[in-house]
């Protein structure tokens, strides 16, 4: 972690960008917020990671500044980071938009560095289909992982995805397991 990163929000943003393999294009400081314009590998459009600094609650008013920013830069997708809580109205409003609200519990460090956490990867649709065909199962018959799971949040997987988990194994050295992301 670099030395200049001061606030928790910024640290989280950087961890997020690193883990999800986003490409940072521009970092800007605004009043009470920091924005990172990023390139998401799979997406064509750019997106923004928006940090509300030191906020205790994030309401519609605060979100409007983000929307404004998004309009200015013609961005479709946003990820919000805050140490405060989201109001109910915000949660409702963002459900339809392409705005991801990162929970407060998102860690400030890279959880995959922890000895207990194995590597998680999202399977491509092709890989997923092959796997399901090989095992002859419906996706829900595999072990599951909640979409709220810290590891799922970290790599940005969505319900319906299948994760490949590369475990360090006491018996085999390395073992590959899979989990199906559910709500």
């Amino acid at each position: 972690m670099t030395v200049e990163t001061v606030t928790v929000e910024e640290r989280k943003a950087e961890v997020l960008i690193k883990l999800r393999k986003y490409k940072l294009i521009k970092k800007e400081t605004h009043e009470g917020a920091i924005s990172y314009i990023i390139k998401i590998p799979e997406d064509k459009e750019n997106a923004v990671v928006w940090c509300f600094l030191g906020a205790t609650t994030v309401g519609i008013a605060a979100m409007n500044t983000l929307y404004k920013f998004m309009k200015e830069h013609e961005l479709e997708r946003a990820i919000v980071i805050t140490e405060g809580r989201y109001t109910h109205a915000v949660k409702q409003a963002t459900r339809k938009k392409n705005v991801e609200l990162l929970p407060k519990s998102f860690p400030v460090f890279d959880i995959f560095e922890h000895a207990l956490v194995p590597r998680h990867e999202i399977l491509s649709t092709k890989e997923k289909d092959e796997l399901l065909a090989k095992l002859k199962v419906q996706p829900y018959q595999m072990p599951q992982i909640k979409s709220t799971d810290p590891a799922v949040k970290a790599i940005g997987a969505k319900p319906g995805d299948v994760l490949r988990i590369i475990r360090k194994s006491q018996t085999a050295g390395e073992h590959i397991a899979y989990r199906y992301v559910v709500e």
Binding site: A115, D149, T171
Partner: protein, 1277 residues
Amino acid sequence: MSSEELIHKVVDDISFGLISPKDLRKQSVVEIQTPDTYDEDGAPITAGLMDGRLGTLEPRQRCKTCGNTAIRCPGHFGHIELAVPIVHIEFTKIIFDLLKSTCRTCGRILLSDDTAKKVRSRIERYNVLLGTIPDEVYKSIISEIKAKQCPHCAALQYKITFEKPTKFIEQTEAGSEPLTPSMIRERLERISDEDLEILGFNPRVARPEWMVLQVLPVPPVYVRPSITLESGIRSEDDLTHKLVDIIRINQRLKENMEAGAPTLIIQDLSELLQYHVTTYFNNEASGIPPARHRSGRALKTLSQRLKGKEGRFRSNLSGKRVDFSARTVISPDPNLDINEVGVPQDVAMRLSVPEKVTMWNIEEMKKLVINGPENYPGALYIIRPDGKRIRLEFVVDREKIAEAIEPGFIVERHLKNGDIAIFNRQPSLHRMSIMAHYVRVLPYKTFRLHLCVCPPYNADFDGDEMNLHVPQSEEARTEALLLMQVQDQILSPRFGGPIIGAIRDFITGAYFFTRRSNYLTRDEVNRLLTATGYVGELPEPKIKEPQPLWWGKQIFSLFLPKTLNYVLKANICQGCAKCEEEACKYDAYVVVKNGELISGIIDRRSIGAEQSESLLHRIIKDYGTQAGREFLNKTTRLLKLFITMRGFSYTYDQLVLSPRAESRIKKTMERIQKKIDEHIENYRNGTLPRLPGQTLEESFEIYVMHELATARDEAGKIADDDFTLENAGIVMTRTGARGSSLNIGQIAACVGQQSVRGKRILRGYSGRALPHFAEGDPSPRARGFVYNSYQTGLDAIEFFFHAMGGREGLVDTAVRTQQSGYMQRRLINALEHIRLEYDGTVRNSAGDIIQFRYGEDGVDPAKSDHGKAVNVSRLIDQIKIGEEKGPVASAEYIKKQLKSVEEQLTPILLSQLKQTLAKANLTKKGVEQAIQLTADRYKRAMMEPGEAVGIVAAQSIGEPGTQMTLRTFHYAGVKEQNVTLGLPRLIEIVDARRIPSTPIMTIYLTGEYKKSKEGAVEIARQIIYTTLENLASAIYEDPVNEEIVVELSKSMMEDRAITMDELKDKLQLQNATVKVEGDTVHIKPKKVEMLKRMLTKIPALHVKGVPDIKRVLVTEESGEWVIRTDGSNLSKVLEIPGVDTSRTTTNNVHEIAKTLGVEAARNALVNEAKGVLEDQGLDVDVRHVMLVADMMTTTGEVQQIGRHGISGKKASVLARAAFEITVPNIVEAAVKGESDPLEGVTENVIVGQSIPIGTGLVELYMSTFEKQQKEGGKTEA
């Protein structure tokens, strides 16, 4: 069994639902109208409770409905027409939910069409995503319904309350109004089928109005047989009694209603009828007094019949009584083979084996028939080809009947030598508790078994009894022979080592036999070898003149495989700093070279039971189970004879210490006494240093107990050293035959501290344990220290304390067996249906994947080498020995060869091969051979498809539970820190408790912080939770100024590294003004009334640190400073800079799941459980622990092993009902219209079908279509 009954049908499915009154009446054969049973002649009264149409109990009578006799009549239901509708007690909760969520007038669900549509799509979404709809979805839907007005008919809705047991009250404007069952029924009738589906109902099989009874079914008489007592008085069943009550009240109610009696009477009678019907279903319903028998005993009604340990499910359906079994006391017989069982002739003459008569055995069979049941090798029955069974006991002329026998007959003959039988001792904690033995018919009345099989059965001969079962079919015998034989069970799946082996005197014998000083004469050698059945040359005698003498080692070597090479350290090894190897002065270095015991004494480490990587283990692994069996048979016979010839006893003289040792012990005791006196002195002066987190008294106790423990240990050590290996006790402890050096110490030197609840004894009188002491006497003697040894004898006071401690031990064992038994039951229930599939995945009965590969490498622990798939280094050693000289293979070549098997081996094996091969310098051929053999052995060590891996895992974890300590606390690493370990902790882990009883964190640090104590302390200060109370010497109320005064303590603030400024920052209170004057803080609340409340809150004001961290300890561990804490808060601690986010952990698994994810939680579960088992010195393969952890985390959350977790979510209704909460499970299944697919284990046991696991899984499939397309689900081979 006659041939007509051979039609084979399989139950595919059992569907549950409610029965409609219409169906009920249709099925009924009689309406019961009179509460009477029999008339004066004893004939059943028509339309009475024992009506002949319900079926008959008398043996020769025919049923009036179906015309069958008692055995063949299935029984027929009758019915009672209830005068008023009655609420069924088991459905009250569901009725309540329905009433709350539907409109009181139009009966529609209280959701607008829009929301209903949304809810429907939500249900559908779950169905697509998860394949099922979890119960929680319906629960949340019901809880979301809160309309005050019906969105459909606009009718106002009133609040409905439910009062136990069966009362529903509606709060209308006019006041509260009770809802009568008929009103409830009307409302339920109005609910539409579509609406019911949203609420989780299946209206096709369960209309809600059927939950309010109009007709009551009357079970057939078989369900409630009456018994005739000796005095000739008939005694009716509890259910009949209850039905009598119901009919009586029902008739009265009908009469009253017809007569137009006042409503009050009608109401009273209705309530009484409700009471009787309720207790008829469930006599333990809350809020209702149980119906009692005349004698005062509570009646056992329908619900009680089903549930609990003695209920139908667990007692009669999951467990069934069997024929062809015997039980008697066991006794030892070292002359048997290990896979034999001695069966008394009396038993052999009652158990029988059906044998088909063929042209080859007809003569023998005729003889058996002639002998009949009373003469030993005889027969009990003959079954003719037409299925007719002839009991030979009643045959007068057996000779004649014997003549009539032809091939095709079946003779049920007596048990004879060589028959196979299944032998079992309860508790059957693991699969080795039931093994197949060959029968050996012997005189006398006990079952006899070889001593080596005592460990797997956990048997001894202090009156233990065991059971014997004789398989009757050819299939059963074959399976027993192939899967259950003793020699095939030597290697335990728990840890991959032999569980069967030499014990007790065999080991003592082996010690004496293989000692260097043991020389045997020709006569002795001959005698010993004859006993073993050895045939062959005698080895060259060790000493030839004056007479030939053989070494014990030489004779022992005769039984070792000729190609065996092995080196190990014996149990008697003293662990010298520098091992002298073959020149060991204790002869503890065991070397076997080409099947020759070169040096070393054979003891427990070499041939003992439950010893992995022993000589015995090697023999079984390398030469097979048959060789292992032979080895055990022969050596034990040899050793038994040898120790009998030599003699072995332990005398009182051998317990007496030398005067020198006596005086040394005395001196030690004096030295310790002095130290304790110092502690007492310091304690009284208050100068004793306090241990963190302990009071002064607790600290004192810890110090003293520590001293006394060393005193006992030192005394024991002195005693142990004083005796030599000539002492029988020492021989037994050192060789591992029996006992420990602790026992020797207690017998000879000092018994030591007696404790109750882990503390010195201080209970009974105030401040003292016995009136012989002064109050508060802290001396060792006064608190239960026993200075004497068992040899010198305890004095009266010591004896009393000893009895106290001993009693606790007994209670402890009793509690422990219960707890571990229940843990095992839960484990078994949660994992029983888990099996290995043909594709190598581990799945449950529904086909859901639990593991993608069993144990991550697919290896069967029982076939593994103490957990390792292949013992690579040993394999290469062996190849090296047998290899011819040649050019060494290049590193390139090894690499190339390894590459070719990359796909077949695990990464761990590959790297092991690479490392060992690089060092071994083998030829090309050798390398090839090594790699090929590794691949072969790995393949052979794989778990077989169909194996019940779940049950094996559950047994492997549950079985050692009994051996674990119940003593909750244990010092882990740091002396001051208490951690729950042993059985309670293991239970906590499988329970998935939210918060462990002792939450603990281990915090690792980064960079500079881990290098110095100061750095670690700095972080520790940021972590420990500090409140105002921790900083103040006093907090009190100042009533004059109406304020709270906090007197701060300088030293306490320094201790926590909190400056005044920091504190001021934290003291910004919303509803009070804060003034800081020097060391005192004045807090004046804005409202005076707040003062009192504030005073209680101020001490807990958070100043610094992480919540829940109660205590921190900074310790140095393997070269770095770490922080250990009491209390845990992982997410917050990880946010603190300086904390190593890659290693810091907690023992709270849920916290790990929350902050690091399920995968981390799974790993944490494995680590925690394995840690507990290892700490207790129990050897359990990780694969079992992994399976449990994977099972617990399959849903993405940490689930409990038990009714709220895995067992409660099983697919099968019957399996859930058989585990716990029987009745509610069935009720829920009925309402939802669930059906049981009968794919698991319990379900199939219940219906009496073979279980889909192991050999029961194998079926023959034939494809009748060109192309079969199957949608997922089952994998069929």
